[in-house]
Symmetry: none
Subunit: 155 residues, 2 copies
């Protein structure tokens, strides 16, 4: 069996390069590092968070925050990444090709369980279609108390 991870990143990289070429844009080390960092940490990054991590990991490149913003916007415009809005401020970005998952979060201990449900996804598509929307993504978080905490909370 092939190494799934590398194949996926290579594919991602190739299609990113194709998009760049198609638009007469250049493939720079900054853009590579931003894509790679987004890929290897499957988190949702704020621009500053991503910038901080990159500065820590590749100090020699000295990537500026403006480049991070410009590249994230580029990635989003070309549908390589998507952004969602969390909490108070700012966007968080994630790669659009990641296998989709949602989160169930325990309000007591913070435990996060990932899940994925085809039935809900299908229903979301249908809801969007009914309202003339072209769906590009979603955020779904379920809040509750996990099994362990339910037992402990017998107060």
């Amino acid at each position: 069996m092939k190494k799934f991870e590398n194949v996926e990143y290579d594919t991602l990289l190739v299609s990113f390069k194709e998009i760049l070429k198609r638009n007469k844009l250049k493939f720079t080390s900054q853009r590579e590092v931003i894509l790679k960092t987004l890929y290897s940490n499957n988190e949702h990054f704020t621009p500053e968070g991503l910038h901080f991590l990159i500065k820590e990991k590749y100090p020699k490149l000295n990537v500026g925050i403006a480049t991070v913003y410009r590249t994230l916007n580029l990635l989003e415009e070309s549908d390589v990444a998507t952004s969602i809005s969390f909490g108070t401020q700012g966007k968080k970005f994630e790669l659009g090709n990641k296998p989709h998952h949602d989160h169930m979060i325990c309000k007591n201990c913070g435990e996060i369980i990932e899940f994925e449900d085809k039935a809900i996804e299908r229903r979301q598509q249908q809801i969007a279609r009914e309202r003339g929307f072209k769906l590009t993504g979603h955020l779904m978080q379920l809040y509750g108390i996990c099994g362990i905490c339910q037992k402990q909370i017998k107060k």
Copy 2:
């Protein structure tokens, strides 16, 4: 028979006053106007949008943007209003006196469409149960491009 969907404005006002009294806060004309404007326009407001409308409608009051922010944050903290973030463009607020619903957000123009779907809600309950979670709430936002923007983007 009392309608469940929309709490009357008077009821809303009374409960807002109660909250203020309970917290030793004062009922001011600015706060009243902000609540009333949120109520009478069935929209989701950005702070500036709300501020603009209020300045237009009640120019004599000369409500400052800081007061709008402060009041919106107060309304949110006391669960009278809720907010939705949508990226760089900031938050949008709505009163929390509506029955539960989720949001579909246009990533291009920020338009927000409300929807509610029993099938998804049921499925969420089931997913939680399967994983030993006691569900207490959820957040679901669908992102996409609204019909109007889809047409405009065909350049």
